[in-house]
Symmetry: C2
Subunit: 283 residues, 2 copies
């Protein structure tokens, strides 16, 4: 269900071939979506790994290859996406499509849609706490959602092709404005990360050996890359601070119920939580 | 590695044949640790399910069967363990061994070691957010830890046999005083549950459809049984309130770093969290 085998592009250039960029490359290769996949990285080692994994055909340390691309995917850490967009804008073909994989969208879309007329912001909701092209998977996006964040300025033709591209990689497509995306994602992704970071930090070292699946699951994403997440959190701080406020209120309600031995209140909260989690479905 | 096939007991009575009691029954049967496994439940339906699953040989709605038992396992929800211990104490053979599977130990051990001389408190650190004997597994305890909480009053002979019993079910044994157990477990089990309950409650309904593996994993245990967890939280409230305090401080540190755009502080915290989570090892 996840492969259609239809060539969409001649040359795709992926800038940043880590977990996400590498998985995009592997996904394109597996489904033969492009004749050629070119990877760009600042590190020779990364290019070699990406080639060895079969995620790219050729790799370069500089940006000049973007001039031949039909599709350019900005798959670097979030704090370099805007700069890269600015750098490639004088180099790209006028009809080249550009998309990205940044976890927050408002700042990126605002900056890049001005200078790259065929830019369509994207956030594939797939990933892992494990970094690097060695953890990349051709099917990483299969059965996941990819949020596209078109605006009034977005070219309809570009949107259709970018939608097609992410769909062929296996993702279901969701449209949200950049602002709504950033608000929603602060709750479903960034808040859980902050909670996981805080949780693992609160557990005293002398009790860690007792950790069972409960603590392991709740803190798995605390092993996510620090540098990457620092930048993600900074690019969406307003929404995140709101989400933290809401979370603190939820926590306070449970705390009060425990403190006051209010069995009815506590049971009601836990029942609601259970119901809501069960409605999430699918394990 | 998990089965030794050595009969330890003639008759084992398990009171409460849900996920834990049912898994104990299945584990005993699989490893032939007893000649006969008897289940006691307040519900005929539960007994029928347990029999159908092969977790028990016979089942009863009343407690009289404990009088024939060599080993009695109290595997009911935490708030009925003490009452059950009191009820069976005049019925049991003088040399019958008694253990339990309650998630907090101080109150239970204090109450039961007075009246049941061969009682050894236990907390198997295995389980699931899924309840009931239909989710029971013969190998639920394999490669997990089981905390035993002997005190100065605990019979050495009883401790040895109870240790042997949990080991044969596949668990590694850890000794802790009831007090230390309750303190440690508030961090590694009860705090993650409260955090998961609060987290799922804070996510607005209109963004839940975007939930990816991050939110799913961090909130999996929020689907745990409300009634059960209400009682667990109430029996360890002092330690839990301490743990919540520590957690809130961790959370505040991240919040401040985001608010003040303190990149250095945020990166340091996330790096520490990552390191600590990675040291937990094993996925």
């Amino acid at each position: 269900m996840c492969s259609f085998n239809m060539r969409l592009f001649n040359k795709v250039v992926i800038i940043g071939v880590g977990l996400i960029g590498g998985s995009i490359g592997l996904g394109i290769k597996k489904r033969k979506l492009a004749k050629q996949v070119i990877g760009i990285s600042r590190h020779k080692k990364t290019i070699n790994s990406a080639k060895a994994r079969g995620a790219i055909d050729f790799g370069y340390l500089d940006l000049s290859a973007v001039s031949q691309a039909d599709l350019i995917v900005l798959a670097t850490p979030i704090n370099s996406i805007i700069q890269l967009g600015l750098k490639i804008s004088p180099l790209v073909k006028p009809d080249a499509l550009i998309t990205d994989a940044g976890s927050t969208k408002k700042l990126i879309v605002k900056a890049l849609e001005k200078i790259l007329p065929n830019f369509v912001g994207a956030h594939p909701l797939a990933g892992s706490e494990k970094q690097g092209v060695m953890n990349a998977q051709a099917d990483l996006f299969c059965r996941s959602l990819c949020v596209l964040t078109p605006t009034a300025k977005t070219s309809k033709a570009a949107l259709n092709m970018i939608k097609r591209f992410w769909m062929e990689l296996g993702a279901g497509i969701v449209y949200l404005s950049p602002g709504r995306h950033d608000k929603f994602i602060s709750y479903v992704s960034q808040l859980p990360h902050i909670v996981a970071f805080s949780l693992i930090q609160s557990v005293p070292h002398n009790s860690l050996y007792l950790a069972s699946t409960g603590l392991r699951d709740t803190t798995r994403i605390a092993a996510s890359a620090a540098l990457l997440w620092k930048d993600i959190l900074f690019t969406n701080s307003e929404n995140i601070l709101d989400a933290l406020e809401i979370f603190s209120r939820s926590l306070s309600r449970i705390k009060s119920a425990i403190k006051q031995k209010d069995a009815q209140a506590l049971e009601r909260i836990l029942r609601q939580a259970r119901q809501k989690r069960q409605n999430l479905g699918l394990e």
